[in-house]
Symmetry: C2
Subunit: 279 residues, 2 copies
């Protein structure tokens, strides 16, 4: 697995062509799957400035909820996501089946697991790491904020299971989700990438700038890949900031008049993933 | 646009994890879109031999119906697809917006259009090419089989509109759909490709055989790209036939335990499309 930080930016107008809640849920599920398939570290939902003020605030938060839900292991979902009507179709979401979603209820020393901080006392925090039995909690000797999901390493398995906050660095450990309600430019500033890939059909095709693209990817540490929405390509000017910018058309000779955001995300990540794995 | 014939093969078990008809329809719609985005000429649904006899015969025909429906221009859909309950959710299918789906009701000499053969007499065939007015038919001076969609070129625009069977060769003109109910091997024999790309996570990664892959693509004329289904990778042995075969993993370092067929199709076509456009 490559060691770069990869983030993907999509607009809050992503769901605007879909009114059916089940299909909206499914469409976001497609994005969640793609992030995990290609080891993406962060998904950022920015505000599409081409649309009327605050039109998609709710959609943006809905997308963040669904993506967060998918990224949460099965055993923590009920604790982390209390029932709400917008999430009533989450049952149709495909599982990620990533290493950070362990399916085994037995724990071993050295193993990593996401856990939910249930309660805290002076000595530390009780954590649900998905062991058999609802009240079977592990203990962390640090005072953590409660009602949150963190990642832990299991340090002792005895009568009491002891865990410490930690994350592995050799396997994919899921993605973070940000719903910024800010412009793309300001959302990028929050993440602070050193290299931004702007995907647009109006740029040079990937095949015509292949070597340049590969070299730039190679030297980047924090990569951001940004996509337009159903209404238009990216309308903001992203040149002239702290990051290096390349504009690229990753779908040369497209057979259709438009390429949908989810299609562009998968098509682009497929090529980027190939390149990141060849260096 | 490149001049190669590209066909994609997916198993009839493709929908087996989905029971909801609306989601089944949507999932097939994702495939239809991807075919058009990447200028694919043919989609073949083969029989997944890893599953019990004839388990997915209906799904296979359903997929063919939905894909055929999507490939049919709006103005011919009612004629070509009489109402059936399996197709009740076709309203959610995203439009292809390809050149073979003209939205203009005015016709010009030299223009190409799909048409539906409505009736025939001794002099020729009356064809619906989507002009204003339901009974406003064009005439073709050939006796064609009726109740079928063919492609036509408009040769005369006067009181009568005259058309002749023809297809353009410089724009993408949609895909053919085959539901074979046969094994992958026998389905491939029907199409008779000269180069077969077998996608499987157990093969060398695309980045490690990039140059070899590019050269083979380059010299192929009829390319077939074959995918496994939800139950397993491809189980049939495809080596030793008239075609050249390469096995390749197009999703190196996948973050998830499995890659879904629709994800693999998009990821693979993205890379193949880039390579076909660079030669």
């Amino acid at each position: 697995m490559h060691k770069k930080q990869v983030s993907v930016f999509i607009p809050d107008s992503f769901l605007s062509e879909t009114s059916d809640l089940k299909l909206k849920t499914y469409k976001v599920g497609v994005i969640g799957r793609v992030l995990a398939v290609f080891n993406v570290n962060m998904i950022v939902i920015y505000k599409d400035l081409s649309q009327k003020d605050d039109k998609f605030v709710e959609d943006s938060d809905f997308m963040a909820d669904v993506l967060g839900y998918m990224n949460t292991p099965q055993y923590l979902r009920k604790r982390a996501y209390p029932i709400k009507s917008e999430l009533k179709h989450v049952g149709i979401l495909p599982p990620l089946r990533t290493p950070h979603h362990p399916t085994d209820a037995d724990v071993k020393v050295g193993e990593f697991r996401p856990g939910f901080t249930v309660k805290r006392n002076k000595k530390g925090t009780f954590v649900d790491i998905g062991m058999n039995g609802k009240e079977n909690l592990a203990f962390c000797k640090e005072q953590l904020s409660v009602n949150k999901v963190f990642s832990f390493r299991i340090t002792k398995v005895a009568k009491e299971i002891i865990v410490t906050p930690d994350e592995p660095n050799d396997v994919y450990w899921g993605y973070e989700t940000l719903s910024t309600h800010k412009s793309l430019k300001n959302s990028l500033k929050l993440v602070n990438p050193d290299f931004v890939v702007e995907t647009t059909r109006y740029a040079d095709t990937i095949n015509s700038i292949f070597n340049e693209f590969e070299e730039k990817l190679d030297s980047a540490d924090k990569l951001a890949i940004v996509f337009g929405g159903p209404y238009s390509s990216i309308t903001e000017e992203l040149d002239g900031f702290s990051w290096d910018l390349i504009k690229v058309n990753t779908v040369p000779s497209q057979g259709t008049e438009t390429v949908r955001t989810e299609e562009a995300v998968l098509a682009t990540l497929s090529i980027v993933n190939m390149l990141l794995n060849s260096s």
